[in-house]
Symmetry: C2
Subunit: 202 residues, 2 copies
């Protein structure tokens, strides 16, 4: 049986989703066609819309449909003088879900990885340094992942902080080494925040 072109294309396209192999993709395609065409159509529109409408906040770089996100626009958050640096928007989401951090964020959208051509500029560190030099930030919480690249990136940013006389701390306890920040539960994440240590200047 030759599947129709549109069906083959759909099965192939479904595999862009992490965790969806060829067999799962086929089952999803047939499920939607047989039992949930409305859901499939809605998903098609939602994807098309999201991929074009969702950009990045000009200030913190997280996902945003406006020039600036709600967090960056909040005067309460601005007054906190605290900036948490994370690798990805999912990390912002994980921290916000604890409801206990009330400062600003800066989202790198990655980490330093010279081997892949990802230097300071690629992860927005020029924008971050400008922000640090402008004043208003007293402490930078380095919440990059506890991987080699995450640590290297945190260390690099700590240097930027020192240069601009801004305190830098690194979240510490609770996050399993090699793990991913956004997979950690809220309580562990809050332990990591309260157990943060000042990064000493060399």
């Amino acid at each position: 049986m030759q599947l129709s072109d549109s069906l083959n294309q759909l099965i192939e396209a479904l595999r862009c989703q992490p965790g969806i192999g060829p067999k799962s993709a086929q089952r999803i395609a047939f499920h939607l066609l047989e039992r949930d065409r409305k859901g499939g159509t809605q998903l098609g529109s939602a994807l098309t819309k999201a991929m074009t409408a969702i950009g990045h906040c000009q200030t913190c770089r997280t996902f945003c449909e406006q020039p600036q996100c709600d967090i960056c626009l909040s005067t309460k958050r601005q007054d906190s003088g605290t900036l948490c640096v994370v690798e990805s928007p999912t990390d912002v989401l994980a921290i916000e879900q604890t409801g206990q951090y009330l400062g600003l964020y800066f989202v790198l959208m990655g980490h330093l990885s010279p081997i892949d051509g990802i230097g300071p500029k690629e992860i927005g560190l020029d924008v971050l340094e400008q922000k640090l030099s402008q004043g208003g930030i007293n402490e930078v919480i380095l919440a990059t992942n506890p991987s080699v690249e995450g640590e290297t990136t945190a260390y690099y940013i700590a240097q930027l902080c020192h240069k601009n006389n801004v305190g830098a701390s690194r979240i510490a306890h609770g996050i399993p080494v090699g793990g991913e920040l956004d997979l950690v539960d809220g309580r562990t994440l809050m332990h990591a925040f309260s157990g943060r240590r000042v990064v000493t200047q060399e």
Copy 2:
């Protein structure tokens, strides 16, 4: 953190896929936005196209973008005089993947389920009966699932066959009771075909 509307809609829409819960949907959405916008856009188009372009074959009711599918149009298949009745297009796919069945199909797109208001007409048995009465079919292979509803449906169709003097057989060996036809491997499926029994007339 309030997620943007488009992002919330995307996460919600992703859940139309079987096996995708809220956490998986969130991870998929962020993955596509962060690392594979091209894949996300292609999936959006593929879904939109598939949900409108893919209809049903007028003859066998399987998924098809033309009025009739390739199998129904094949004179070799027509000459076989054998018609295999299955519940869903995925069953056709599973049987075709064995490469050993060379007859025609009829796809019920479900099974009899009076409690859900699914009677003979809802699963196309009026179309099937018309086909049987027209001649050209010598044997109907009843390959509905080995569930209570599948057995009931097979029995009902066997009666239609008897009425029209067409032989009816039920696939038997190898398919685990309560299992699903399209999850069985090709060899087991072929055993089930060769071990089919004639359904005796009451």
